[in-house]
Symmetry: C2
Subunit: 193 residues, 2 copies
């Protein structure tokens, strides 16, 4: 009987609050704006949309065939859905969950395989620099838009978070490389005095 949906429910409601959405457009929106901090799969999105309708938080304007002839189901948030979104917003957010595989490798491999770890760190730095550039691109776009447009502040703060995060991770990786190479030198000195 207890049909709940974890956190997926709320990102769907939040996106529907901006405009009606299809399952596909929700997936694309998350990939575009939240990819770096949140991810959802079709396997979560479609079933959750159905549950939201069951619970009265969303409505379908099922246009079996759109102007193009392609079958689409558009979901719109209801008033109850709006209320549910507000209720969730006022709750204290959960502690964030991270899974940094590179950290496991660094931790387990620095002493045995310093060269490999060094390569991983190089790739990690490149990846973080790319993300950083993406975030700065967003921020430039937002800055160019009208100052008084309040509806973009949310997106701006998301990009800003990315900027801080990716800068920090890049800096960490550079420092890590240095410490690993320092250690290697130290070991060489002890061997060949």
């Amino acid at each position: 009987m207890k049909k709940d949906t974890g956190k997926t429910k709320y990102i769907l409601l939040g996106l529907m609050a901006k405009r009606p959405q299809t399952g596909y457009s929700i997936k694309k929106s998350i990939e575009y704006e939240f990819r770096h901090f949140w991810q959802e799969s079709f396997g979560q999105i479609y079933p959750t949309l159905k549950i939201l309708v069951d619970q009265g938080f969303a409505e379908t304007s099922e246009t079996e065939t759109t102007q193009n002839g392609r079958r689409t189901i558009t979901y719109t948030i209801t008033e109850r859905g709006q209320a549910e979104l507000q209720r969730w917003l006022s709750e204290v957010p959960d502690v964030e969950k991270l899974r940094y595989e590179i950290l496991l490798k660094v931790s387990f491999g620095t002493t045995t395989e310093p060269e490999i770890i060094d390569q991983h760190l190089d790739a990690f730095i490149a990846r973080n620099e790319a993300s950083l550039a993406e975030m700065e691109g967003f921020l430039t776009v937002f800055k160019d838009l009208e100052v008084h447009r309040t509806d973009i502040l949310g997106s701006e703060l998301t990009a800003l978070c990315g900027k801080y995060l990716y800068t920090a991770m890049k800096d960490w990786a550079m420092e890590a490389k240095k410490r690993i190479s320092d250690q290697k030198e130290l070991q060489n000195e002890t061997k060949n005095p």
Copy 2:
């Protein structure tokens, strides 16, 4: 037939490579050292340990009753397990997965509920400051240890990553608070000129 175990397998192997472990000690080790960047549940650990034995990557020295009389199963990494660990170490690590619920709330709520978001950000800052202090505590301990001990470099780099991360997140949240309050002021000015 295809019995795989995702990433859980490798953190278990990595920890077993340091010393033989029980399921419980693995859980505690992860909570102690990797909590901030990786988490595993008993629901993953115990079944995975069995699979590792099946696959020949670990061995049990099943002491049905230890010195204390409590039943424990100690798992030791095998040579095959060591090889598997090395194989994984040399693979390019996956892109990290994050789930920052606060970011969703900030994104969906800044304009409609600025006061609530401000409170969430305060709590977020406090939480990140606490984690930062924890990381700095670790780093102090490591610095006090012998310089030539290479086996702690991994742990040190983990803590350092935390230091960078939590500093960045704290700074972001402070900046976010400022921008939200700036926006509120702007709105008030337009209302009462």
